[in-house]
């Protein structure tokens, strides 16, 4: 599960000083900010974000409120500011239909191509394909694969043919840590991983593409960290 870490307990004086540098706050507002520490509006927050094209700044800080400039919905930002888990729905694997080739997801890639996710399988070691392998072996969700194919890197490496009909998609996922108060928290990208998803567009008898072969975090043959699949904007 996505985690929101809260460090509560800063002294009132320190909090007021810090806030005073940002906002000219009334005494009433200071009182509210002290209450905010208890209800999650101040303290450290961690979350992750798929890079959907705007590109979070790397190596420099930004404010939590700026997330909306990077494609994160305002409502999600407000939830994070309140110290809540930003994602509305936790990404669980779709319920598995009976057959390996049953379709569990259909969507358009960044160019409007018809992408498909099938149930697939995983043998518990290293053989398999589709949703079952992607979920159970690589700890990625259908939403993560969709996001990777819909918002790949805006460079040639974002979507490239790797075979006659198979395309690899890549996008970055950023792990972010913030500290401070409410939407004025200061945030920094602390880790970035690249998700790679392979889609085979060869058709099956049902007229649809074979679809997702696999998806993984580059250089990670096992499970991606939880924060990748639990990104707040997928």
């Amino acid at each position: 599960m996505h985690t929101v870490r809260k460090r509560v307990g800063a002294t009132a004086a320190a909090l007021a000083t810090a806030l005073g540098a940002v906002l000219a706050m009334s005494g009433q507002a200071q009182a509210q900010s002290q209450a905010g520490a208890a209800d999650g509006k101040s303290g450290a927050v961690e979350f992750s974000v798929f890079d959907t094209g705007a590109g979070l700044p790397k190596g420099e800080s930004f404010q939590l409120k700026d997330l909306t400039d990077y494609g994160v919905p305002k409502r999600t930002t407000e939830k994070l500011a309140a110290g809540e888990d930003g994602a509305d729905v936790r990404a669980a694997a779709p319920a598995a239909p009976a057959g390996n080739f049953d379709v569990v997801g259909e969507w358009k890639d960044k160019d409007g191509w018809d992408a498909v996710m099938r149930t697939g399988y995983w043998n518990g070691a290293n053989a398999g394909f589709g949703m079952t392998k992607i979920d159970q072996k690589h700890n990625l969700s259908l939403d993560a694969v969709k996001a990777t194919t819909m918002y790949p890197r805006p460079t040639p490496e974002g979507k490239q043919p790797i075979g006659p009909t198979t395309y690899n998609y890549r996008t970055e996922v950023n792990h972010v840590e913030c500290s401070g108060w409410w939407i004025f928290r200061s945030c920094r990208v602390t880790e970035t991983l690249t998700v790679l998803a392979g889609i085979d567009y060869r058709k099956l008898d049902d007229g649809k593409a074979f679809g997702a072969v696999t998806a993984f975090c580059e250089g990670v043959p096992g499970r991606c960290p939880d924060w990748v699949r639990n990104a707040v904007n997928i």
Binding site: F129, I162, D200, T214
Partner: protein, 206 residues
Amino acid sequence: MSARPNRPAVRWPAAEWWAPLLTDLAAVQRGSAALGLVVRRVSLTGATPCVEVGWPDGASATLRPESEAGAPALLEALSAAGPAAPPPDGHEHTHWAPGVDAPPLLKYAWLLDELGGASDAWYAYVPVRVELLEVRTDGVGAVDIGVGRPERGDAVRVRVALAEYGEPAGLGYAVVERAVGVEAPGALSEEEPIGGLATCLVPLVP
């Protein structure tokens, strides 16, 4: 691990240089399986690949094709030595998997297709460098995939038992992961070296 192939193919820049060759050989093997043609060995240790092909009557051929020569050129070259046929219509655009009960040579064609179609397994999947050095088969039950491990200065042959496969499996990823996980080749059965490298043989599934 790299974001780019160790040596990119021209046909598909995100693929390793040998991916077009294996994909084309898969087409040849699929079309010619019923004729008894076997791509016995593909060696990728030299500047130009070496492809050894055999037939049930003892005929054989050794080719040194360009890696992007294409299936028609391969078929033309092989036809001088023995029977060879193109794959069924729609081979490139219709998904196929022979199933676990299919004849071994058809399953071998499928395995070549799996290897050729997922060469990102060899540069983006594991955190260390690996190289595909060789594919060989007895044409009956086993396919050995030679994996070079440059950082260790050795190689591992990963044996795939054809009887256990025939459905989509991501075998390229499986082979690479298995090869990287082998600790000390010296402690395992010694094998004919690949490209002069100390080589051991391991089954895909321990």
